[in-house]
Amino acid sequence: MRPRDARPEGDLEGTVSRWRLAIALPLGGGLALALVAAIAARRGPSIDLAAATAEAIPSSGVEHPITAVLLQFRGYDTLLEIAVLLAAALVALALREEPAAAAPRSRAPTAPAPAVVRGSDEHDLIHPGTSDRAGARAIETPLLATLTRALHPALLLLAIYLLWAGATRPGGAFQAGAVLAALGVLRRVSGVRPWAALLDRWQHAALLVGFAVFLGLAAGMLLLDRPLLGWPSASAGALILAIEAALTVSIAANLVGLFASAPDGRDAAAHGADRS
């Protein structure tokens, strides 16, 4: 017997036991008091970071202070951030279901995901797609499919605009990457995936390119007798744009990879059946 059958159904939603609540509520109340007291007793910062940033902007190669902080003054944080993202995506890809363990389904990545409708789930809109090794979940509605198709050029354009705008106004690699990732998730959810074969082939390169370009350029500065991440002011703008373009691709690829490598419900059910 599977363990979940022995438990009341409501437990999949999570119930809170009385004694846990009795411990948690005083803890939360105490933390609230401590934090509010700490904020009330704060002292002003000794360094005026905003003024220091504004002073250094002209030498940074970009005009927008956030982009300057992210890729110039505190580029180290961003370098480590894309490394963390890459590590998370690699772990998720390593953990995804083996194709053999999943239900027998076509592995051809070129198929535009005609969903397999099993007899038992007539109430369920979500079916495992056939398009993808990680077990794509396609919601089959004409509205979503049309919308996804129509949104492709719009979201691509928006991402490129955000990337370009990052130099002078709000925008940049993070927002552009998030928009591209949203497009990727939409492709997975709707099963409408133009150029799927091409993108799948380049998936690993896309995961790596942000970290590789960033680290390569950062270390390349050492060869020029400059500090790590010390862009020469003359070409800083171009370097930052190149890094941001690579970061955009990688942020999107890593986030979509993380989304897509979550095991499918059908696979989970199959596993449960194997074990019982």
Partner: protein, 87 residues
Amino acid sequence: MTLLFDVILGLGLLLAAGGALWSRSLFRAVVLFVVFGLLVALAWVRLEAPDVALAEAAIGAGLTGALLFDAVGHLRRTRRDPPDGAA
């Protein structure tokens, strides 16, 4: 006027977070978490951080919401549709 807006938005943040954390239904909790993400994006605008607001709206509300809905759907599907039909 903006003070009133700030107060309402702050209380709305706390309410949405309370619902996301303590509501009995997991699905409702995730819906309220997405609402919370959108309200936080508004708070970032009020804090004069448009970059963070953009990222929060796209990532905090959109992407995290999609991930969580996917996971909750996975839980529900597994419960509703047992593989061997015996349970």
